[in-house]
């Protein structure tokens, strides 16, 4: 079936009729097959979202009926309020609110810092190479493939030595470090794709390192910076490992708190609150995704083009 589905419909044997004019539109089995496959796949991808939403709007008794996919018989927003405001992790019953604020702080600080650093890296690596700069870049790319576990512990020790472990600046530094390989690659590739003559012209005009960066390169890199912002916002918001290890109790990000709320073993498991909390945690990156649309895809493609 698929073979027919993929080949553009071959003109049927016309027999007596001389073909003329536009080819008649036909709904072939192949075409139906293509759409059937895509629709089924789409249902598979949408199912969890659907389940999340309907579960979060049901009361616990209705959930216990085990009708996972059904629309709520009676819509309730109670679980949402509880997830946001009063859900418990251990003894703290403040809901996801503090986690949201923490994630907001971490993201708002880490995204600009990591991007500015990576932008300067990419710029310097493209136009102001120095002895060893390529080696440094190589190490950085190697860093993109290293399992985080290999560097985490020495990094904990190092950060606590300078008093930054489990602090907001500490987690911002960590995000800057681990975002650097991909972002630097992203910006280096972007700057390398610019005509080198632009840089030469600016040199002849007498501009130096920072003048060329701020006056020529920075205004030109707005599109790629948007891609980087999307990449970093979703990446940092969704981070779990670094939040667990480096943020400390004071700055615990939303993902960590979500996991704690859901896996907390005391009391009745409130599936509707859990799902409401899950949606709330996913809301920011999902919003970024749907607003940014094609940029997000570009970000993935750009971030994924390694080596």
């Amino acid at each position: 079936m698929t073979s027919e589905a993929l080949s553009p419909a071959t003109t049927g044997a016309s027999g007596a009729v001389e073909p003329r004019g536009a080819k008649p539109k036909k709904l072939t089995i192949g075409r139906v097959g293509v759409y059937a496959f895509l629709v089924i796949a789409a249902l598979f991808f949408l199912m969890p979202l659907w389940v999340m939403i309907v579960t979060s709007l049901k009361g616990l008794p209705e959930i216990r009926l085990g009708q996972l996919f059904n629309l709520p018989a009676q819509v309730t927003f109670e679980p949402w309020l509880k997830a946001w405001d009063t859900a418990c992790t251990g003894r703290d019953c403040n809901g996801l609110k503090p986690g949201f604020m923490n994630s907001l702080k971490i993201t708002l600080l880490s995204v600009p810092v990591s991007i500015v650093v990576a932008m300067i890296n990419g710029y310097a690596l493209s136009f102001w190479k120095y002895k060893g700069s390529d080696l440094l870049f190589g190490i950085l790319i190697f860093g993109a493939f290293v399992p985080y576990q290999v560097v985490i512990y020495p990094l904990i020790i190092g950060l606590s030595k300078v008093g930054l472990f489990a602090t907001l600046p500490g987690i911002v530094i960590v995000h800057t470090i681990f975002g650097m390989p991909i972002l630097t690659l992203l910006f280096r590739n972007f700057f390398a794709s610019l005509p080198p003559e632009l840089f030469k012209a600016a040199r002849v005009d007498g501009a130096g390192f920072w003048q060329i960066f701020f006056q020529i390169m920075l205004p030109m890199s707005v599109p790629i910076a948007i891609v980087a912002v999307i990449l970093q916002t979703t990446g940092i918001w969704n981070d779990f490992l670094f939040g667990t290890v480096f943020a400390g109790r004071e700055n615990m990000p939303m993902t960590v708190q979500l996991n704690n709320i859901v896996t907390t073993t005391t009391g009745v498991r409130e599936y509707n609150v859990n799902m409401a909390a899950t949606i709330l945690t996913a809301a920011v990156p999902l919003a970024v995704y749907f607003i940014s649309g094609k940029w997000f895809v570009r970000g993935i493609a750009a971030g994924a083009v390694k080596g």
Partner: protein, 315 residues
């Protein structure tokens, strides 16, 4: 040949020239500007790894020390069932995830390539899971896999009363449940990369194949697929790094359970440097995790060197 260029008063000019300055090989600002990169590359990706390596040969517990115990930690590591199962798990998880991801991703890309009217809509649907964190992914699928209230019960209520679908409760199937969650999260990215790869293939190849009368599925499989090595490699490498690091989704879905059925090396390391206060052991596990990455890098280096040599020979 350069005698054609005149050089009558060269001597006069040379004599008046100022002494030669040292060569300007770099710009100081370039080093100043990239200080964070220098610190990260050297400080984190070299020195931290060296420390991890050193501590893996010590009996460090809660705090690092330098009491060297030789290969003890490595011996204990490989004697540990928990670790050996972790390694087995990550291989099984890796192979299943990669195969499922690449096959399903390519299929989606090919189907998306059929001049679908609602392409943007489908793309949004296939890709949105990637915008969600793996913790969210794990929690949703954990809920759907719930044996009493999840998919299993929903299907049973439709009348299929002996329907079995609760992989996470069973030691033998738990890992496939995690694979499913992971593929759901990441396959859209593979699709997007491969679709871009498909679109990048020279359109005349399609015309040529059409004139030669090659059926489309054959063209996709035997002509186009080998032509998009770059996109395939990109998607593959992206998934590989995800596999080595697999952590969040397992923590959210199963916490490594039931038993040790979904225990992973990454979890093993974190547990040893936090709850189990055995830094030496954790570091030994971490350095072992680095081995496959190093192996791939060395392999790639050899391949590149080989290719370069071939090229030089060709010239």
């Amino acid at each position: 040949m350069s005698q054609y260029a005149q050089s009558s008063d060269a001597a006069a000019l040379v004599s008046t020239s100022p002494p030669r300055r040292a060569r300007r090989k770099f710009n100081v600002m370039s080093i100043v500007g990239t200080t964070p990169m220098i610190l990260t590359a050297v400080g984190v990706f070299v020195i931290c790894i060296i420390f991890s390596f050193i501590w893996s040969f010590t009996n460090s517990k809660l705090f690092p020390n330098f009491n060297f115990v030789g290969m003890d930690q490595y011996n204990r590591l490989w004697a540990s069932d928990r670790w050996r199962i972790s390694v087995g798990n990550v291989f099984l998880f890796g192979v299943c995830s990669l195969v499922a991801n690449m096959v399903f991703g390519y299929l989606l890309a090919v189907f998306m390539d059929q001049r679908i009217k609602q392409e943007d809509l489908f793309r949004s649907i296939f890709l949105y899971p990637f915008a969600m964190s793996l913790v969210v992914t794990g929690l949703v699928w954990q809920w759907m896999f719930d044996p009493n209230l999840g998919i299993q019960s929903a299907v049973r209520q439709l009348g299929w009363t002996d329907f079995q679908f609760a992989p996470l409760t069973n030691q033998a199937t738990a890992i496939y449940g995690v694979v499913l969650g992971g593929v759901w999260n990441g396959v859209g990215v593979t699709m997007a990369i491969l679709l871009a790869g498909l679109r990048g293939v020279d359109a005349e190849i399609w015309k040529a194949a059409k004139i030669d009368g090659i059926p489309a599925w054959r063209t996709y499989l035997f002509i186009v697929l080998p032509m998009m090595k770059g996109a395939l490699l990109t998607a593959f490498i992206l998934q590989c790094t995800g596999v080595v690091r697999v952590f969040d989704i397992v923590i959210a879905m199963t916490q490594g359970g039931p038993g040790v059925a979904t225990q992973m090396p990454a979890i093993y390391v974190i547990q040893h440097i936090t709850d189990r206060v055995n830094v030496g052991q954790g570091m030994a596990a971490a350095c072992t995790m680095l081995l496959p990455v190093l192996a791939v890098i060395v392999l790639q280096g050899v391949l590149q060197w080989n290719a370069k040599r071939k090229k030089e020979k060709a010239i």
